[in-house]
């Protein structure tokens, strides 16, 4: 006796395949569009290169998994960065719990030490290092805000990702701008 799959089964299978294909396509689109930004984000969350690689892979896996429930109510970029920051925060909490007390908010951040290099050619690398040092000292929420600000996200987009009110975001961005202006004014004026 030959058993043939019934029509509803075939329909269900093709529907599942369609959903899976759509997810794969979205993932590939997201990886192509935001891959570089995700690498930069991973660098801000994890200093160790091999663990950073693990984090980046976790981020990609989390994005792929989450895209099954992506319904288009927010932009793909907002969705991708929500998942990415969520995964990175998880990674940070899992690996750096002992140092949580050393982290600061944007408001209580102590002055960054001036580590200006004498070499003019090292200015850019030094600036980046100072920026990374600043980011590493921030608590997750403020870290998310500053990273997205540095990636040219609008205040509204940052609010969508981190889930804070526009007024809260405006206050934080004001503080970020002030910090960066101080840091880079010093740098440019040296």
């Amino acid at each position: 006796m030959i058993f043939l799959p019934s029509k509803p089964d075939l329909a269900a299978t093709s529907a599942t395949e369609a959903v899976e294909t759509a997810r794969d396509e979205r993932y590939l689109e997201a990886a192509a569009l935001y891959g570089v930004q995700l690498v930069r984000m991973a660098r801000a969350y994890e200093a160790d290169p091999s663990r950073r690689q693990d984090l980046l892979q976790d981020v990609h896996v989390a994005i792929w998994r989450s895209l099954l429930t992506f319904d288009g109510r927010c932009s793909l970029r907002t969705w991708v960065f929500r998942v990415a920051h969520y995964t990175a925060t998880k990674h940070m909490l899992a690996n750096r719990r002992v140092r949580l007390h050393e982290m600061h908010t944007l408001d209580d951040l102590p002055d960054i030490e001036d580590e200006r290099s004498a070499s003019a050619s090292a200015v850019e690398a030094d600036s980046l290092q100072r920026l990374l040092t600043l980011i590493e000292r921030l608590k997750p929420l403020d870290r998310q805000v500053i990273l997205m600000y540095l990636e040219d996200f609008s205040a509204e987009a940052i609010g969508e990702v981190v889930g804070l009110s526009p007024s809260n975001i405006a206050t934080k961005i004001h503080r970020v701008k002030k910090l960066l202006a101080t840091m880079f004014h010093e740098r440019n004026g040296q």
């Binding site: 794969d24 993932y27 590939l28 990886a31 891959g35 570089v36 690498v39 930069r40 660098r43 690689q53 980046l56 892979q57 990609h60 896996v61 792929w64 998994r65 989450s66 099954l68 429930t69 969705w79 929500r82 998942v83 920051h85 969520y86 925060t89 998880k90 909490l93 719990r97 949580l100 982290m103 908010t105 408001d107 850019e124 600036s127 980046l128 920026l131 608590k139 997750p140 929420l141 403020d142 998310q144 600000y149 540095l150 990636e151 040219d152 990702v161 981190v162 889930g163 804070l164 809260n168 960066l180 840091m183 880079f184 740098r187 440019n188």
Partner: protein, 201 residues
């Protein structure tokens, strides 16, 4: 030069992560749930074999070791109850694991809030583990201890009974302690999270 320029102009190697790799890694996630389920299935199969041997085994086997008939009944009943308890626990592990996975798909709302929700769900899972895993094993324990108390006529009955009761109590305590420790670990992480984002909301 400003912060945005410095940040975006950093030279970084973008590793190639293939779709196949991502799919394979995603399958490996939630391995803890699958491991618990494997333990449950293994326990159920083992207890089924033990139960089959003790309940359906040939009667002469019992006569060789000289076990009185009531004790045989107690042992068989205990084996049967242990099998049922293992089966029940395995079903519970599978059901609760499925619920957790389903909920994780829905939780991508706000990053920190989502993480907190996931932690709370896992904490509650382990905090309530004793409620759904304790009572299924209780009947078996009562039967074996009660049966021993009533029908065992061999010497040093109380010593053996006390030891058996101690082993049962220890097993329950260790199970409860492991669940409590896991639950407390998740609670500590939730507390750490509260201190982390207290400025944001």
């Amino acid at each position: 030069m400003n912060g945005n320029t410095v940040w975006q102009s950093q030279t970084l190697e973008v590793p190639r992560i293939s779709l196949q790799y991502v799919r394979r890694q995603a399958e490996r996630l939630n391995s803890d749930i699958r491991r618990e389920l494997r333990f449950g299935i293994f326990g159920t199969v083992l207890s089924a074999l033990g139960c089959g041997f003790l309940v359906l085994g040939p009667a002469p086997g019992w006569s060789i070791v000289g076990v009185p008939a009531p004790i045989v009944l107690v042992v068989q009943l205990t084996a049967l109850l242990s099998f049922l308890a293992c089966g029940y626990l395995t079903i519970q592990i599978q059901r609760r694991g499925k619920l957790q996975l389903a909920a994780e798909h829905e939780q991508v709302m706000q990053s920190l809030q989502a993480y907190r929700t996931a932690l709370e769900r896992r904490r509650d899972h382990y905090a309530s583990a004793w409620r759904w895993s304790f009572w299924p094993v209780l009947p078996g324990m009562i039967i074996i201890l009660g049966g021993d108390l009533l029908f065992d006529e061999r010497p040093h009955k109380w010593l053996r009974l006390s030891l058996a009761a101690l082993v049962c109590a220890l097993a329950l305590l260790v199970g409860g302690w492991v669940s409590f420790r896991k639950s407390a670990g998740f609670q500590r992480e939730i507390d750490a999270l509260k201190t982390l984002d207290q400025n944001g909301n």
